[in-house]
Amino acid sequence: MRLPHYLGGLENLGPVNLFDKKVFMAEWEKRIFGIHTVMMAESAHLATALQKYPIANIPTTFKDTWTWASLRTGAEGMQPFEYFKYRYYEKWLMGISQFFVDRGYVDADELATLTEHYRAHPDAPLPARPNPSLKEQVVRYLHHGDSGLRTPPAPAHFTVGETVYVADPAAADHTRLPGFLRNKKGTVTEVYPGAFEYFVSTGQDGLSGPQHVYCVSFNASDIWGADKSEPHTVIYADLFEAYLKPAH
């Protein structure tokens, strides 16, 4: 069981911190957000994505696939108490810098040395080396995205109005199944047209290749019981077909 998969419904957390409407809590957070988004925009897998981006022609030394799944798998793989200890973009900075070290783009010692340099000279400039072709690709990616829409390999198993149960697959490094829905009963409210392929296979968790996706509604009382939930509360979740089981 991976704690970050089970956030929905935890008790005794106290109030939401409503005072932070800011997107970025510190200026440096913008830079790691930007680095991550550029990595997604120059990811190797985009050559075969729906949009068929001209990745091979982009002058970059980045040759890996980097998607939301990369970032999420890293966060979900953290020691769970560390996961709660650090702010959102602190986790991104840890995960992304470790990726570049692990994949050999950056040497850990050179990163540490240069970090000391910028620590001593916070206003020291970045190297000035614009990359106009990469800039164009970043703009293309931001404007056209990376849809997982695919041709369905088979007809949809479930229909609108059908009662379904949520599967309980073995824990994996990464999932798109909110843990609080495991084994719960819901009703299909929409069968999305087409099929959708997630960025990666999640192995025994069940995501692999194009699948139908359903919007499924759940009464909060069917999830947590009437005394542990609010009445008149309905939760809608988008669930890949592998996460659903027939009622009978």
Partner: protein
Amino acid sequence: MAALFDYDENREAASAAKVRALEALLIKKGVLGSDSVDTVLSHFETVAGPFNGARIVARAWVDPAYKRRLLEDTPKAIAELQFPGMTGAEGEHMKAVANSESVHNLIICTLCSCYPWPVLGLPPYWYKDPVFRSRGVREPHAVLREFGVPIPAEKEVRVWDSSAQIRWFVIPERPANTGQLNEAQLAALVTPEAMMGVALVPAPPAV
């Protein structure tokens, strides 16, 4: 592994220096250009942001037929307005849901921080915080009260958990006494919070 997460006594300065060193090395090694990160950031100031969502909501308020089309086929109705980038990153498949007298909607992502970038921009900190992600699904009425939105206990709250391809946003109810306002004036009333379902749109102050 734990040593990796040991924090410097000055947490912010350490992170700021590390991200600057990382960006510098990635520029030097040809992974990024020195203009790459700024290109991303300027997209969220000029192309993708809540200013788009506000205009979509205002159009839905003044044109009931448009609102019906928006709820039935959200991408197609948004495309009518010809804003750039509306099927871009994190907006490839968006859906609008409408608040009414009988239903209040709330968007959430319990697994991470999925959010409809083209129409709302980037999510505020609390949306990504584990406390909101945990409590929003189990006790949305209580959470909304903390946000200053007193939803009656008997009013249905629908919570939309973004766990696959759809990115949801909320069409709030049009406030009373706004019949004299034009579409641009109405758009100016619509906040990102209202389009996430954690705020109502207040009536404009009397002139």
